[in-house]
């Protein structure tokens, strides 16, 4: 076991992690720990754009942007946070440009902007061009640009190191620490994939930026490595997770594969059609049609399929039609996604419509934080030195449904804030001791798995989980389906205890890591489903067929899920739900119509 000591440790080298690193490494001794090489992070998959009210091509301002974010999130958004994000968006984009990001340009040489779902002029009048983009590889450019700056600043990276535990001064998982008592972070425990060794990082500040958890679903736009590690580690250490029942299903995943075709396609004019060739979104969102927010489009698509108007041999997808667009325009603005259609489905988008179906895309929920990225351990107390930003966090700027392009914005705005906050905290705080045997829990878990005689297979359990989640906790949910999912998850959690790995080696044992990741997925799926069961209303990405309306009286509040020792079964844990009020500043909830 090796021990390192840094002022700030950032976990995750995606957009949020590296944006934080750029701030903190100039102010404090910083290490970035990432389970992937930084440029392999899933931020690189983001396509469509990053929005900011630059008003480069059309009249626009950050207040409209705030309103759209709040409305898009079905009023579960904390409006103070949304305001911060929309205001700082402009600098966030300009910062990236100054770092060298190659945005597409207007004829005047300014950053070009295009339309995106849910972004409107003057509080919903018409779609507005707000998304700054670099063809359909905006995320790729952001990730590369941030990494380039990290190289420039000589940021210290520990690549292919898996953080498997976060060390706190008090054990929150029992639920015995009284509110108000100060709790601090003292470091993290990581596993070096290449050598199989355990490294303990002692730190004054720790920033979690580990990204999403799409792999709890089977059909997803997310990478194999997006297993929600950061959320699960926090949950296990007694930190609550906020609004986990809200998962975004992106309307246009390649049918059957889940690979994403950006909303930018529709922003550039592509149209969704059912088997009859009808532009069905006209019925569901008469004003902005195909550019309605994702939850609405995804449900409309699922509904078309349910009512028998799906296309294809099994009538189980709809079509994204780009055939009326100029091939040259497609090549200039959407080169990558059209290539995906060609490579993976053998479809030529110039001439054929592309089969699409909703795909699990984005976790609106996550580790609750303040607008300065400080992690909350209940509705009010922050954990000293612990920060979170990006998809792993829930500020909450996305409420119950994130608008397209708001996530790349989120990682930049709150990544930066996290970096600044973490360095500032480290500058004033003194060191706290690491716990006795800091790595004991991790070592125990790893040894148990490696030594287990052939037990349950990781892949069997994972597949069962993902299939159950796709079937029971996707676009449409009911008490019945969710209960079925919960039963499945509980069974799988029990079976997980006897999971064994085949690879007994020390070096580069990805078999072992997949087993650990499965544990995270199971824990998170449980939180998602428990939260979804309790939320007996429909709002944003969470649609309960048995409760199809939004119920502001009962549910205009954030879910806070805690993992605590089970009262009924000693030795077991359970998810306890609590709530947190939504911050409303200017925009009173209204019915959400587009």
């Amino acid at each position: 076991m090796q021990t390192h000591q840094y002022d700030v440790v950032i976990v995750g080298a995606g957009g949020a992690g590296m944006r934080a690193a750029l701030e903190s490494s100039t102010r404090a001794r910083t290490a970035v720990i990432s389970k992937l090489y930084p440029t392999r992070s899933h931020t690189g998959a983001a396509q469509g754009g990053m929005c900011a009210a630059l008003a480069n091509v059309e009249d626009d301002n950050w207040e409209w942007h705030t309103f759209d974010t709040v409305k898009g999130g079905d009023y579960l958004v904390d409006q103070d946070a949304a305001e911060v994000m929309a205001k700082e968006a402009i600098d966030a984009v300009l910062d990236l440009e100054k770092m060298g990001l190659p945005f597409n340009r207007t004829p005047d040489g300014l950053i070009d902007q295009r339309r995106f779902g849910g972004h409107t002029r003057n509080h919903g009048e018409a779609a507005v061009r707000r998304s700054c983009y670099a063809a359909d590889r905006t995320g790729h450019m952001i990730l590369q640009t941030l990494y380039q700056q990290c190289v420039k600043q000589d940021v210290e990276f520990f690549n292919e190191f898996y953080v498997l535990d976060v060390l706190l001064t008090d054990d929150l998982s029992t639920g015995d620490v009284p509110d108000g008592q100060p709790v601090r972070v003292s470091g993290v425990v990581a596993y070096d994939l290449a050598s199989g060794e355990i490294h303990v990082f002692r730190a004054k500040s720790v920033v979690f930026a580990t990204g999403g958890a799409g792999k709890i679903y089977k059909t997803t736009s997310n990478a194999h490595t997006l297993t929600g590690d950061g959320m699960a580690l926090a949950l296990r250490r007694g930190i609550p997770l906020e609004d986990m029942e809200f998962f975004q299903f992106h309307p246009t995943g390649l049918a059957g594969l889940g690979i994403l075709l950006s909303e930018a396609a529709r922003g550039e004019g592509a149209i969704l059609r059912n088997s009859e060739g009808e532009r069905f979104m006209e019925r569901y969102a008469p004003t902005i049609k195909d550019l309605a927010p994702r939850d609405i489009v995804a449900r409309s698509m699922a509904n078309e399929v349910r009512e028998g108007r799906g296309a294809g041999p099994n009538k189980d997808y709809v079509l994204l039609d780009l055939t009326h667009l100029e091939p040259a325009h497609i090549d200039a603005k959407l080169p990558d996604i059209t290539e995906f259609a060609r490579t993976y489905l053998g479809i030529e988008p110039y001439t054929e419509p592309v089969p699409v179906y909703p795909t699990a895309h984005y976790a609106m929920g996550g580790i609750p934080t303040t607008i300065d990225a400080e992690v909350l351990r209940n509705n009010t107390d922050v954990i000293g030195g612990l920060f979170a930003a990006g998809e792993v966090a829930c500020v909450s700027v996305h409420g119950s449904n994130r608008l397209g392009t708001n996530s790349l914005l989120d990682i930049n705005v709150f990544g930066k804030r996290a970096g600044i906050s973490a360095a500032a905290y480290a500058a004033t705080a003194d060191w706290v001791d690491l716990p006795q045997e800091p790595a004991a829990a991790v070592v125990g878990e790893i040894e148990r798995m490696r030594d287990a005689a052939a037990g349950e297979r990781v892949s069997d359990l994972r597949r069962a989980l993902q299939e159950s989640m796709d079937a029971n906790a996707q676009v449409f949910r009911t008490a019945e389906s969710l209960t079925a999912a919960l039963t499945d998850i509980r069974t799988l959690q029990k079976r997980y205890r006897s999971v064994g790995v085949q690879d007994k080696g020390k070096q580069f044992n990805t078999d072992l890591l997949e087993a650990l990741e499965l544990g995270f997925l199971l824990d998170l799926a449980e939180v998602v489903v428990v939260g979804a069961l309790a939320r007996e209303e429909s709002r944003g990405g969470h649609f309960r067929e048995d409760f199809p309306d939004r119920d502001d009286a009962a549910f205009m509040k954030h879910t806070m899920a805690y993992r605590r020792p089970s009262a009924a079964e000693p030795g077991e844990t359970e998810i306890r739900l609590d709530h947190k009020p939504v911050t409303v500043t200017r925009y009173q909830p209204m019915e959400r119509k587009y």
Binding site: E156, F157, F158, N159, F161, D192, A194, S195
Partner: protein, 153 residues
């Protein structure tokens, strides 16, 4: 910078440890340009040479001392062959140097091979140049039938 993990693979790395010393000279650049410039010239020179020697007249069967001597009597062919000799030797030597750099992995091997190369270069060029300049088309005491017709012995 990334934490470096100690070498873990018992398979020897296919690359020698990084010992790149920045050269900061235009040497490679000039070499590269020279390969191209000389290539174009050589194209003319060599094709002309081959044509004269192998195609024109009776081809290779007609080549003998008399033929060579006849050619070198003219300053044009003297210069032609001299240029060809130098350009081809520099071009070829530089090319072979590249090849040695590519395949000789240990510095020792490299040094030995390159020394041999440069030695061969020097010997050949010096010898060739001397021959062209000090050549006597009508060496005294040789049978007249071997000599070019203009030798009036």
């Amino acid at each position: 910078m990334t934490a470096t993990t100690e070498a873990r693979s018992p398979i020897p790395a296919p690359r020698s440890p990084r010992n790149r010393r920045t050269t900061r000279t235009n040497y490679e650049l000039y070499g590269w340009v020279f390969m191209r410039a000389s290539g174009v010239l050589l194209l003319v020179l060599i094709f002309g040479h081959l044509f004269m020697n192998l195609i024109d007249g009776d081809g290779i069967s007609a080549i003998d001392f008399g033929f060579v001597a006849g050619k070198w009597a003219s300053p044009l062919w003297q210069v032609w062959d001299l240029l060809m000799l130098w350009l081809a030797m520099i071009h070829g030597t530089n090319g072979v140097r590249t090849i040695i750099n590519d395949y000789a992995e240990r510095t020792g091997t490299r040094v030995v091979l390159k020394s041999a190369l440069y030695l061969a270069f020097t010997v050949t060029v010096v010898l060739g140049t001397l021959v062209i300049f000090t050549f006597d088309p009508c060496p005294p005491g040789s049978p007249a039938d071997l000599l070019p017709s203009f030798c009036t012995a």
